[in-house]
């Protein structure tokens, strides 16, 4: 019997859940600066995330998807992409997007129901949040095709969840990336849950990464709570892409420690035992342990960082809450490059309705 060696899926880990190295550390991680940055950014991410949930609970934010437990994936993406690479996110990538130029206040604006959260020109040509599952994956191949057509040495990184890999869009897009040899990295954030549907009944294959093999794309798994492994694997895949050596599928094994969104209640479908177990593997604690062991971190640094994070997040909240209201014009002006005549009439109508409403409000 012959076996096709291409079908083996590698699993990469450097730092286990206890914060111990499971293989020799890569050269870059012998230095402290980047690991410390990852640690700080993850702490910041968790503060910003917890604040978003509080804002939602107090009626100051709409439905919000928490990134709790998926901070490692976020901070590594935010760090390893070059400025002129293109990030194509799904909807659970807040910190990665902030590290790419979005303001934390913009994150709150967007989930606070304001399209201006996605308007910041500092974000460049990164795509905005994408809510319909897996649809962004074909956008990523389109961006990558544009880069290839223009002969540029840039890469695209696209994220999606484990549920997204069941959709045709994902499969169609990675298929194209394989056949056109596109400069794109598909990073599956396998956080084990698609709302209430666990990974075990999402797909019968033992890994999600192996879908890449069907598309002729190198594919592997990585510990999604291990910043060192993520950094190694994602950087290498991006570099391959930039050098026009083709696409990569990376399945990052993480865990969604929170609810799907603030509108969800995971206690309906998930056991406390499973959740407790998952908390043992979360990304921040293990890196803290490791940095402690190396002598790069101590309690006073931790206290300073926690205070600093709380302060920065509060500044973002203040900025968000002071956002001026949108005008009726904003509702109409961005559907076409120029406002069509018929739509201009509806804009006047909406303006009139608004004035009537305000008058009625004043009387009331």
């Amino acid at each position: 019997m012959k076996r096709n060696p291409a079908c083996a899926i590698e699993y990469v880990q450097y730092l286990n859940e206890k914060g111990e190295l499971t293989q020799p550390i890569p050269k870059w991680a012998e230095q402290s600066n980047l690991l410390l940055r990852y640690y700080r950014e993850m702490v910041m991410a968790r503060h910003a995330d917890q604040k978003a949930i509080s804002l939602q609970r107090t009626g100051k934010l709409g439905t919000y998807p928490s990134i709790l437990g998926q901070e490692a994936i976020n901070v590594v993406i935010g760090s390893v992409l070059n400025k002129d690479d293109v990030f194509v996110p799904y909807y659970r990538d807040h910190t990665a997007m902030v590290m790419r130029g979005m303001k934390q206040a913009d994150v709150y604006r967007y989930w606070g129901g304001d399209e201006r959260g996605s308007a910041n020109p500092d974000v460049g040509k990164d795509l905005p949040y994408c809510v319909p599952i897996a649809t962004q994956v074909s956008h990523a191949t389109g961006v990558a095709a544009a880069i290839k057509i223009r002969g540029e040495q840039r890469a695209v990184l696209c994220t999606c969840g484990d549920g997204a890999t069941s959709k045709g869009d994902f499969l169609e897009a990675i298929n194209l990336a394989g056949v056109w040899q596109l400069p794109v990295v598909f990073l599956i954030n396998n956080n084990q849950w698609a709302i209430s549907v666990p990974r075990t009944i999402q797909c019968g294959a033992p890994t999600l990464a192996q879908k890449g093999i069907g598309a002729g794309i190198p594919a592997l798994q990585v510990d999604g709570n291990d910043v060192i492994a993520l950094h190694e694997i994602v950087s290498e895949a991006l570099q391959r892409a930039r050098l026009h050596k083709g696409a990569t599928v990376i399945e990052a094994i993480s865990y969604r420690l929170g609810d799907h969104t603030t509108a969800d209640d995971a206690t309906r479908y998930r056991t406390n035992e499973e959740l407790r177990d998952a908390w043992q593997r979360e990304p921040i604690k293990r890196l803290q342990h490791y940095l402690h062991q190396r002598g790069d971190w101590d309690e006073s640094k931790e206290q300073r960082l926690q205070a600093q994070a709380a302060d920065q997040v509060q500044q973002a909240v203040d900025e968000y809450l002071q956002t001026p209201q949108q005008s009726i014009n904003d509702l109409f002006l961005y559907h076409y490059e120029e406002l069509p005549a018929g739509l201009a009439e509806q804009l006047s109508e909406a303006d009139m309705a608004n004035q009537l409403q305000e008058k009625a409000g004043q009387r009331g």
Binding site: E115, T141, G142, V143, A145, L176, W180, A341, G342
Partner: protein, 329 residues
């Protein structure tokens, strides 16, 4: 013009694509069978040979992907002209067109736009298999952020497609394949585009306004000619730019004639004709001498080709509707 300069509608599409690609290197063409084969209707013939495989791309057989990839390309400043082979297969791409192409500009308040054209042959009349003959322009016209354009002559195909490629909005460019090769016109390859915000008045008249688009323009013009023989003067308007709709040209005409018949191949209910009639009711009610009539496909599945002749509006049905309209006042 000599016979050599006269070309068909599908040749005019091809000529416009050649022109647009030669003027702007950001214009790229993608779709199923568009490159080596030149398109199943030959609309993209010669592009690959002239502009190369980097700009003229055969895609895998996946409509949602074609739309999604076009969105990704457009977000970076390319101007993709994608072909969906038949309208009956575009539904897999609907999510991309509705949820992303149409919304990206608004979602990002103009930071990311989708300057893309989706060309798609539509309509019956060519003895094609099931699913190859639909007319569902209303589905797209209903979506805020999309433009819908339907040429009905070689000249308008050339001029409107050039405009569509230049335009920064996402455009569904629907090509009436029944008249792909029905007539020839002289179409100078001069790069002159036609406006995307106006109807085209094809024939002046004083008694009734006939409003149509796409392949039905053929029967509508025949009806107008036959009505003229009976001293009924019909004005014929080709809507051409379905969305955004130039209602002013139609209103101007109907206020003059007092009567209107809207003709389209698509099913009747909830269609583009219904929108035109509603706007006439809102804005020209007191100028109407008779109720506005619709001559359309019926609210049934587009039949397989044997029964098409009972479905697609005929010249006789249009004349009959005008007669009824004339009798009412």
């Amino acid at each position: 013009m000599t016979e050599q300069n006269r070309i068909t509608l599908v040749e005019a599409v091809n000529q416009a694509l050649h022109y647009a690609m030669s003027k702007d290197e950001n214009v790229v063409v993608l779709g199923e069978d568009v490159a080596v084969n030149g398109g199943v209707f030959r609309a993209t013939v010669g592009l690959r040979e002239r502009f190369g495989i980097k700009r003229v791309m055969d895609t895998p057989l996946a409509e949602a992907l074609i739309a999604g990839v076009s969105i990704g390309m457009a977000s970076q400043g390319l101007k993709p002209v994608a072909e969906i082979q038949f309208l009956g297969f575009i539904y897999a791409a609907m999510e991309q067109l509705v949820s992303h192409a149409a919304r990206m500009r608004n979602r990002t308040r103009g930071r990311i736009t989708c300057p893309m054209v989706v060309r798609v042959p539509f309509g019956g009349g060519i003895h094609a298999p099931e699913h190859h003959s639909e007319s569902t322009e209303a589905l797209f016209a209903h979506i805020p952020g999309l433009r819908v354009v339907i040429p009905s002559s070689p000249r308008r195909a050339y001029g409107l497609l050039l405009s569509a490629v230049e335009n920064p909005d996402p455009i569904i460019f629907m090509e009436p394949k029944r008249i792909y090769r029905a007539t020839k016109q002289a179409v100078p390859d001069d790069g002159k585009s036609l406006p995307l915000d106006t109807c085209f008045t094809l024939r002046q008249g004083t008694d009734v306004t006939l409003v149509s688009w796409g392949a039905s323009i053929l029967e509508t013009m025949q009806a107008a000619k036959r009505l003229a023989e009976r001293d009924i003067s019909a004005e014929v308007i080709d809507v051409a730019c379905i969305k955004p709709l130039d209602i002013d040209t139609i209103l101007y005409s109907v206020k003059k004639t007092g009567r209107c018949v809207v003709i389209h191949e698509a099913a009747r209910s909830f269609g583009v004709g219904a929108e035109i009639v509603a706007q006439l009711h809102e804005q020209a009610f007191f100028d109407l001498l008779a109720p506005v009539k619709r001559v359309t496909g019926y609210d049934v599945t587009m039949p397989y080709y044997q029964m098409e002749k009972h479905y697609i509006p005929t010249t006789e049905r249009i004349i009959s509707a005008v007669e009824q309209s004339m009798e009412q006042a």
